[in-house]
Symmetry: C3
Subunit: 193 residues, 3 copies
């Protein structure tokens, strides 16, 4: 019965190899549920938002372009700025210094969406065009900005960030009156091509 | 030693075949095309939108914050509301009762984008912070709202909905004048981590 | 020839098991990094944007619905239109002729987001309802519109484009004053279901 022994050994090895090499997943879109997941790429930046207030047109990187019926476009409205739509083109820096050389621009909008507390909805991109990074990362999600940290989605990317997806954690790093704020963003990419 | 020879041949063929057929699938991003797909997670909710009309500031969950040149921000504009941008923070409920305990908030915006029929473009999040769900689901897409049902994309998620993707089917469940509407949303997630 | 019988059985079982258990990939979300990637679907269209300027209400497909404090909603603002939010419902054609039969509608918004150069952030959908295509493709991303070509993300889809993802390359194909422009869009889908 030597042949069967060969068969048994072959199958045993097959299972062993199969388990270590091939194992999962019948359906490639059912990702392994067990946390923690490890990002395939991890980047940290700061970006700086200076809202136009009628007097700072030289330095402003953002402007109110929509407001609720009870507001205007020079001062953020009452009721937690509910209804204010802000467009921005903010410098991205590697450290928390507004005056550091920007490595890219954060471009897009946020819209305050709650009357009783500060929350916003964000749609924006990081646009890079330097020797280090070229391409864009696109973001969308809810920002309950009174929380110390909050997560939004990385919904796509181009260039060096072709087809990427992930989660970005925002943290307010500085907040000065209603004109300047600085966000720290921790970008964890879980799909890298 | 014939059996071992058989074993060796089997393993050799196994490797050969594995390398060409199986191994680290050439294109893991080509998902099985054959419908129907089965969601890895399926959730149904209702959310309730009350637009501010100048008189209902206590109950309103939404406000017009942008309008076309021919409109204002207290009444939805003519020509199918084309150009009206509405921000919302709507309660999410498990049944179709506005007064049921909300399980989360639907936060974001819609923008009417057609002159001859009611259609809108949506960007919003479901934000959960309860014992049952924690995290957010992010949505984007076109809403031809005169259709009985219409599909938008789930473009990402965080927390319990980490990295998810899917399709959500919207259905107008109630519509009262131009102030209140209620949507039923059937969320089918096809990528679960 | 017993060994060969063992070999045949082993291979038979291997195929059987392989087909049911193994097929794809240890980590489906780590995509092969090596470019170039080949799209699983490739589509090219044109779309046509005619901004309302107070006089062309019959032909206009777009309207300014948000503006910075220094602007209005009938003329695009100074400083590279920074802060102008435009809603659109543009016809999609197969060739570059505005008067060709549209195959769908491009619906959504763009928002000029930079003071010193023309750039915009886009959120929109292609909505198809013809014999050829049924469903929608959803887009988001930064558009540095002075560049000859620029890439945005395909963040999802429905119907015929169920769950798709990809990259779309925009190119300004015509630009007439500040009222009409035509974009060529080259849609490369890299995730097809």
């Amino acid at each position: 019965m030597e042949p069967n022994k060969g068969l048994v050994s072959a199958l045993f090895l097959f299972f062993l190899l199969h388990a270590t090499m091939a194992s999962p997943t019948p359906k490639p879109h059912i990702k392994p549920r067990s946390p923690p997941h490890h990002p395939c790429r991890h980047l940290t930046f700061y970006f700086h938002d200076i809202i136009f207030n009628g007097k700072n047109s030289k330095n402003a990187t953002a402007a109110i372009v929509g407001s609720p019926p009870w507001g205007n476009r020079t001062i953020l409205a009452g009721q937690s700025h509910f209804g204010n739509l802000v467009v921005f083109d903010d410098p991205i820096t590697l450290d928390n210094n507004l005056h550091s050389a920007p490595v890219g621009r954060a471009q897009g909008f946020y819209i305050y969406d709650r009357k009783d507390i500060f929350t916003a909805w964000l749609g924006f991109s990081f646009v890079f065009n330097s020797t280090q990074h070229r391409g864009s990362i696109n973001f969308a999600g809810a920002d309950p900005l009174m929380n110390k940290t909050r997560d939004i989605s990385v919904i796509g990317g181009t260039g060096d960030f072709f087809m990427t997806r992930g989660v970005a954690t925002l943290e307010t790093d500085a907040f000065e009156g209603e004109v300047y704020f600085r966000l720290r963003i921790d970008i964890k990419l879980y799909e890298c091509w």
